[in-house]
């Protein structure tokens, strides 16, 4: 007779073993290693919560201190490889296989360990793709998550950085897995219940508050005239042209400059209310002036940002907040919102090739993907029309009956032709190709595929790839905005002028923009301190951004 409850019994046994180290559900930080050794089995699939912001760092340290004789061969399934401990476990044999999304700060070490064979890689995923697999073939046996506080029943308050937690818990708890949460404090009553206690099996009171990185803070003081010029072109040549109201911004200086130009340059162009009203976006400090001057109506967030909590609490008409007043973020839902409910993704990248494929992978780093590949892709599941989506669809030369037409998501790459240390952004061949060959990946880690990109904006102009009709149009459109890079200098000048006549390439002067007007005085805030003033003192920037 088949046993339909084998997994359930195994979970009960794990929890039973863990109870030896707990008082009810509560485990002191000092017993975290013993707890993990009790609930983990060799070869388990484990989700160690490493998000964009919030890190289950106390549990990561505990896992890395487990006895590899007891805990080994784990299959890590987590969105972020951020902390050193996330990789230490592969050096000791505690972990063996990895499926993940993002590894920004650990990108160089990931590459080295992949090359050295210490990590058996499944794949580098986009966020939604990895979350989806949690429910199909990468369901965790054990999830190690992080929250701000919990009560003794396990009811969990995640704080403003809810991020991946609900998704991880959903996949783990409801499919016979064990959920262990680290919290900064145990309280009698949590400010709000983000995760109900019956889904949390153990609560570890962490020795130190979990680590959060200010990933989305861009100091206006560091913005250059070139970035301002590119931002002006994007606002006039794309936001206004298509009437883009619903959108997602990347995290670079280019989009931060756009945020700071809305209340100044955008206002001058009479665009208030016409563009950039609804965002899927982390609470960028540089968005404060646009919010304060009434440009932005609504923002749904993947996670929070250090220093923005008090400001968000005072702006509940704009942000999603709980009964306790603090931000409720959710990465999976915000990614979905960015994918289906936004008409535009606009962000930066490190390399673009002659077809328009882009990647943030360089020869020695596997940074993985952030939100860009999901939001920077054309969703074929979309059915609702909107003006920008329909206009982009028409430009892409839809043939046949217009009633059967698909629109197009605007996917805009905003780049300077040269990056740091004079490294060219435009290349013949992506470094990702070479790296894939070197470490034996079947697919090169491409951030945004060429067929999803609709526009490339550089300081030299805008290339509208929707209007290109063949491969030559496309290559020369890209070369035509590639500035003084080798790719740019290798252009066919006559062809580029033809593309300009067809409106495929548009220069600043074609848009009525004088490059010399791209001045820092256009920025609504020119320093972090200005942002604090705009917020009425509610924004509390982290120490490293305070220079006054």
């Amino acid at each position: 007779m088949a046993d339909w409850r084998g997994e359930r019994k195994a979970r009960d046994a794990r929890i039973e073993a863990g109870r030896a180290h707990a008082n009810g559900k509560v485990v002191p930080a000092g017993d975290a290693v013993a707890l993990l050794e009790a609930v983990l089995k060799p070869g388990d699939r484990v989700c160690l919560e490493g998000d964009n912001q919030k890190q289950a760092d106390c549990l990561a340290r505990a896992l890395s201190q487990c006895d590899p004789g007891k805990v080994h061969g784990l299959h890590m399934v987590q969105s972020g490889i951020v902390l050193p401990e996330h990789l230490d476990v592969f050096e000791t044999g505690i972990a063996e296989r990895l499926d993940y999304s993002y590894s920004g700060p650990q990108g160089a070490r990931v590459a080295k360990m992949l090359y050295g064979g210490q990590i058996k890689l499944g794949a580098v995923h986009t966020y939604l793709e990895l979350f989806a697999r949690y429910f199909i073939d990468l369901t965790p046996h054990v999830a190690l998550i992080a929250g701000v506080s919990a009560d003794r029943e396990g009811n969990l308050y995640t704080g403003p950085n809810t991020e991946d937690t609900p998704t991880i818990v959903e996949a783990t708890h409801f499919k016979n897995g064990v959920v262990v949460a680290q919290v900064n404090e145990i309280v009698d009553k949590v400010p709000r219940v983000d995760i109900p206690g019956d889904r949390v099996d153990f609560v570890v009171e962490a020795d130190t508050p979990f680590f959060v990185e200010p990933l989305f803070t861009r100091d206006p003081a560091a913005m250059t005239e070139t970035q301002i010029l590119i931002a002006m072109m994007a606002i006039k040549g794309i936001y206004a042209e298509y009437g883009v109201r619903r959108l997602n911004h990347g995290i670079g200086f280019g989009t931060a400059a756009i945020e700071l130009l809305l209340p100044t340059y955008g206002e001058k162009l009479g665009l208030k209310g016409e563009i950039a009203t609804h965002f899927a976006l982390n609470p960028h400090p540089t968005l404060i002036p646009a919010i304060e001057s009434g440009w932005v109506r609504q923002v749904h967030c993947f996670g929070s940002e250090v220093g923005m909590d008090r400001y968000i609490r005072e702006r509940p008409d704009v942000f999603f907040t709980g009964a306790d007043g603090s931000l409720r973020s959710n990465r999976a839902l915000c990614q979905t919102a960015g994918l289906y409910a936004c008409d535009m993704f606009i962000g930066a990248t490190l390399q673009i090739d002659l077809m328009g494929h882009s990647s943030t992978v360089t020869q020695s780093r596997v940074a993985g993907f952030g939100g860009a590949p999901n939001m920077g892709s054309d969703p074929h599941g979309r059915r609702h029309p909107s003006d920008p989506w329909m206009k982009a669809g028409r430009e892409a030369q839809i043939v046949g009956d217009p009633a059967l037409m698909r629109g197009r998501k605007l996917v805009v790459q905003l780049v300077e032709t040269f990056g740091d240390k004079l490294v060219p952004t435009f290349v013949e061949k992506l470094d990702a190709m070479e790296l894939a060959k070197k470490i034996g990946l079947e697919l090169a880690p491409v951030m945004i595929y060429a067929d999803d990109v609709t526009h490339i904006v550089t300081e030299e102009g805008i290339a509208n790839l929707l209007l290109c009709r063949d491969a030559d149009d496309r290559e020369q459109a890209i070369r035509g905005v590639a500035g003084y890079t080798e790719i740019g200098r290798g252009r066919d000048r006559a062809k580029v002028e033809e593309l300009r006549a067809r409106g495929i390439i548009r220069r600043p002067e074609d848009l009525g923009i004088e490059p010399l007007d791209a001045d820092r005085s256009l920025l609504a805030a020119r320093s972090i301190k200005d942002l604090v003033h705009w917020s009425g003192g509610l924004y509390e920037p982290p120490a490293r951004f305070r220079n006054w």
Partner: protein, 102 residues
């Protein structure tokens, strides 16, 4: 340190009468440009001191595009580069020309 000099003939002198102008700063990723109205009205000379060697062809292209666009006849331009990117160089050159026209 690499020194480069480019000489161009222009179709007209740079408008304005200002004898000299200076713009930019020698900081990392930036540059300082001195413009002096000391040459015959159809001549332009650009002398560059840069810490980054090997970018001769890029400088040549940036300077040629600037001369074609601004027609800075009569002006000698001295550049103290701090490793600026070509777009920053273009922008500073145009800013310098505008200062001279004022």
């Amino acid at each position: 340190m690499e020194s480069l000099t480019f000489r161009h003939t222009t179709t007209k002198p740079l408008p304005g009468t200002k004898p000299q102008a200076i713009t930019g700063v020698v900081a990392s990723g930036n540059l300082e440009i001195l413009l002096e109205r000391v040459l015959p009205p159809d001549a332009c000379e650009v002398a560059i001191e840069t810490p980054v060697a090997g970018y001769g062809p890029v400088w040549e292209a940036v300077v040629a595009d600037f001369v074609a666009r601004a027609q800075p006849g009569g002006v000698r331009i001295s550049i103290n580069d701090g490793g600026a990117r070509p777009d920053t160089v273009s922008l500073r050159l145009l800013q310098g020309a505008r200062l001279m026209e004022a």
